[in-house]
Symmetry: C2
Subunit: 353 residues, 2 copies
């Protein structure tokens, strides 16, 4: 723990670069969220989109899990739909439904609703939040690293087409399989927006960025490649030309898509909870770091179960250079905090060597 | 097509027995359903559960897809929740929500709500519907075969715990990981019910039975084994001791569970649409027949897309002895019928050799 560091690079970034670390770094998706009472306190005065745009409060909320648990990564508080909102799409969040887009994109001409997206002009608050967080994190190899993120084109497009989250994505697949030219036009536009958005974040202090393709798991591999993977691949390639920072790829429900994810050459793959270590080791070459993948709903169980399942994952992956502990999906709102503590204690007690 | 048959066994059953057939047999999940105007006509006068229990009309509805399309299998019209309803669980169907169980099973003593289940006494209509369909199907190797079905214990338990379909199965996982003894008690009880129910169907004329574990794909492999696979495995084993008929295993969203499904030794595995032929060939030994696996939402696309995707699947699997064309999930209510026709034409035009 106290051995001298070669340099001052935070442990999370060293793991993403596949260096051997003396402990397993940890952060988890949606770590700033409704399972924290201090989050709900701030959120009670603001709507979701107000909070996203409020630099002081979004910064405070982003840092809450760090203050409480001392994690190795801080992901800035926002939503994957933020850049669409900033580019002119009308949306709000409803308590049970989640995001609601009132003017869905039904035909090619509806793409005009997405104005030319200049993140410095259209969502300066995102850059400001990242600068503030980064300043707070200080220096030294034991500090947390700042993570940016964006939604992947396929997932963003599904929101534009469905108007919100969907169970079966009927409208999305109707467009993919019935109007592929329109589908590709939307996806190409979203590549441009996402590259600009992530580039802005990396210029504003983010040290690594994660791309969330939350819904692409509804596609079989050849459809994923046709409508999702090729576009995330373009984003990863374009970012790599401009920035040395790692890009993390997360695809929800993606046990069947690992080969296609590897083909995009992200520096890190963040695994859904369904993937076994054996399968991941078979499919993911050692040049790619791995993040994951406890089922977040294990945290609804008994504390002994939480400890046992956390250890099972650590024993499988903890010794692999370039392994970061995380959940296999965002943490759920009613997660008991004592179970988060049990999970983190197990991660911290584990020694890779 | 007109070559003499060794015997009068229907082509579907010969394929399930892994015999070489001169064409690919076809049926598809939820083939008797809302995409058919003749179904909606009958359904407009009856609630869903009334239709399930109405021998005349349920028989008529089961036969509708055969009359219209001439398929190789007829699955009797019912729902996976029918045996729970027959065993005393109060449930009804709502238009958008699907099944609703008003008195959920929250603790071990709630299991008393499931009375001793004697299918001959508690759901005689199921046996009667099967007898009637079987009589209509006649004889000869070109006739359709009659399929029975049941829900798997894990999927049925999730309905008892959640009260309906769920997005994240939070309550289910809370019970699995927090109250495993209670979970196992419910699952064991559902094994008994399901064995009795499928045995009853096989005694009433069903020639093969499919077990639907619609929601087990939310589990990672070791949890699937702990809470789902071992119980479906028990059902398959107990049925095999009593009946020579094939048991087909379908697990929704199961690309990551193929190894565990194989371990249960079903005669047939019905694949979710996400699995590639390469992956299935790697994981499923040739002693197990394969059924599947077009994405049902491809049928929302353009007819050329439907033909192309159907052919892609046939080219990959059509030559494997023991292959049956099917969808990777139930057909959706708004599927255009001309796309079903395009799919079936492609299947019928395909020659395995």
């Amino acid at each position: 723990m106290n051995s001298p560091r070669k340099n001052d690079i935070p442990i999370l970034l060293r793991a993403y670069a596949r260096e051997v670390t003396d402990r397993v770094p940890v952060w988890y998706m949606r770590q700033a969220g409704r399972y924290l009472p201090e989050y709900n306190e701030i959120r009670s005065d603001l709507s979701f989109m107000e909070l996203v745009q409020n630099v002081d409060q979004a910064t405070a909320v982003s840092l809450q899990p760090l203050r409480r648990f001392g994690l190795d990564g801080v992901i800035f508080f926002s939503d994957i739909l933020t850049p669409l909102h900033a580019a002119g799409i009308d949306l709000h969040f409803e308590e049970k439904r989640g995001p609601v887009i009132t003017t869905i994109v039904e035909k090619a001409s509806d793409l005009d609703r997405l104005r030319d997206f200049l993140p410095d002009r259209d969502c300066p608050y995102v850059g400001e939040i990242q600068k503030r967080i980064r300043q707070t994190l200080g220096t030294g190899s034991e500090r947390a690293a700042l993570l940016g993120f964006a939604g992947a084109p396929f997932t963003l497009a599904s929101y534009l087409w469905e108007g919100g989250t969907s169970r079966r994505f009927e409208r999305t697949k109707q467009i993919l399989f019935g109007e592929p030219d329109f589908a590709h036009a939307v996806l190409e536009r979203l590549v441009e927006i996402t590259v600009a958005y992530l580039d802005f974040q990396l210029r504003s202090g983010a040290e690594a960025v994660q791309i969330f393709d939350s819904w692409a798991g509804i596609l079989r591999p050849e459809h994923y490649e046709e409508f999702a993977g090729r576009y995330t691949g373009q984003i990863i390639e374009q970012l790599r030309r401009r920035h040395p920072n790692p890009v993390i790829l997360f695809v929800g429900n993606s046990a069947h898509l690992l080969g296609e994810m590897v083909a995009q050459s992200p520096q890190v793959i963040s695994l859904d909870w369904r993937v076994t270590p054996t399968e991941a080791a078979r499919m993911i070459p050692t040049q790619i770091a791995i993040q994951g993948n406890l089922d977040p709903l294990v945290l609804y169980g008994a504390p002994e179960r939480v400890t046992r399942e956390t250890l099972r994952i650590l024993e499988a992956w903890g010794k692999r250079p370039g392994y970061v502990f995380n959940l296999g999906h965002g943490i759920h709102p009613s997660t008991p905090i004592e179970n988060v503590t049990a999970m983190l204690e197990a991660v911290r007690a584990f020694r890779p060597s």
